[in-house]
């Protein structure tokens, strides 16, 4: 566990293997909610929070429940259940304590359950930081940090995209390309430009 490792995780999670633009996780929400900056930002924060928390929870579930009892084949089911329960819980807590916040991104929360980014990061953490049934030294911190970084990458892509699409409202875009198709093409160009960061060495 050292600083370099964390820097590598940061650069690759945010830019090189950006969740949306390179791994295509959470693409649906990316295309559907990036039309305006405000909801995009709310969604990003909600996703960042849920991804971070679920990275922690699924790590514990995998390390202390699935691994010791040799139940790793239940990974998919248990992770999705844990995530769904957690999201439900967060929704209830927010509704109880801050109706204002609930209105701001309450409607996005249920969507996050089926946001592939959340489950994707959980599975990825396991694939990357558990080698053949054994955890890598510091795997918990790596998982946590990767969760945060993936959330940051999601936010970055979401912010850029929503800014661009807000401006496109004023443009005379060819009719056939309006909305979805153009959003994908812009995503492609963004993905091309993020390639500039590939091959990082510190």
């Amino acid at each position: 566990m050292n600083l370099q490792e964390f820097l590598t995780i940061f650069i690759s999670a945010v830019f090189i293997y950006n969740v949306i633009l390179s791994r295509f996780l959470g693409l649906c929400s990316f295309i559907a909610i990036s039309k305006e900056t405000k909801p995009a930002l709310a969604m990003s924060f909600a996703v960042m929070f849920v991804i971070t928390m679920s990275s922690i929870i699924t790590w514990f579930v995998y390390r202390f429940m699935l691994l010791p009892f040799n139940l790793t084949y239940l990974r998919t089911i248990s992770f999705i259940l844990v995530i769904a329960t957690f999201v439900q819980l967060v929704e209830m807590v927010i509704r109880k304590f801050s109706p204002q916040m609930y209105r701001a991104f309450g409607i996005y929360l249920p969507l996050i359950t089926v946001n592939c980014a959340v489950l994707g990061v959980a599975v990825l953490n396991i694939d990357m930081f558990f080698v053949s049934g054994k955890q890598v030294a510091g795997s918990f911190y790596y998982s946590l940090f990767q969760g945060i970084c993936v959330g940051l990458g999601y936010t970055l892509a979401m912010l850029l995209m929503s800014g661009i699409r807000e401006r496109l409202e004023l443009c005379n875009v060819p009719k056939a390309l309006k909305d979805f198709p153009l959003a994908f093409i812009i995503g492609g160009i963004l993905s091309l430009s993020f390639m500039g960061f590939s091959g990082f060495k510190f």
């Binding site: 800014g163 807000e166 443009c171 875009v173 390309l177 500039g196 960061f197 590939s198």
Partner: protein, 312 residues
Amino acid sequence: MKNNLIVSGSPHIHKKESVSRIMWTVALSTIPAGIAGVIIFGLDALWIILAATIAAVSTEWVFELITRRKVTILDGSAVITGILLAYNLPSGVPLWLPVVGAIFSIIVGKAVFGGLGQNIFNPALVGRVFLMASWPKYMTTFPKPFSYDAVTSATPLAMLKEGKILEHIPYLDLFLGNRGGCIGEVCILALLIGAAILLIKGYITWHIPVTYILTTAILTYIFGAKQFFHGDWLFHILSGGLILGAFFMATDYVATPLTIKGQVIFGIGCGLITAVIRIWGGYPEGVSYAILMMNAATPFIDRYTKNRIYGT
């Protein structure tokens, strides 16, 4: 009498400037660098510039015919896209490469957004990163200057990245263009002549280029060598596509912020990303990626640097 009373919306002050006039001036200002490129790399460079330009203009024409839009190929913007794309290519590439690149530039970089004045990204750079990702073999083979045949040489930045700068390249050689590189980026002198025309005419302002180059210089000075504050900043300014990018591509009217504050942020951002890629990244050069990423951030920058309308 009748003609003197025109009622129209603002702007009310008339000047002889128009979009096509500005565009053709910009196209003219790139000519010195093109001539220098042809002198340094031979006639191959000329054919590449012509191929890219013709392909860009005809693609725009065909697209506008198919989608039944106003044909705007005479406004000069497609010509600039073609020229700038060619300037970003090595002179040894096969001729179909600039053609494919120009078609991609115009379609994906410009036409899909609705044409001139609406593109989010600099079209030439979109074409260039596409070519870079698609045919890296061609895009990183650089003919040796003044040899006019198949002898190749690495660019100074690539040599630096591989850690094998054996002898110091004189700054004067870098300044005049006696080095491996893309057609339009090597001769700094010619680029500065073109840039001076644009600056004097007032078509570009100094904010983006100066902040861009300064940021890159400062960062490469601090982090460019094994010890802090020992980097060769002048080398970093004079090599690669920094000057070409800073004056001709980072100043694209449509894809850059509107306010001075926004432009300064844009320049600093470009410089930061360029320096980071050059020092730590996998590619030797980061100018095109940096400008594209900041193009993407431009609507966002504009949003937060917009002059408030009085009273809101």
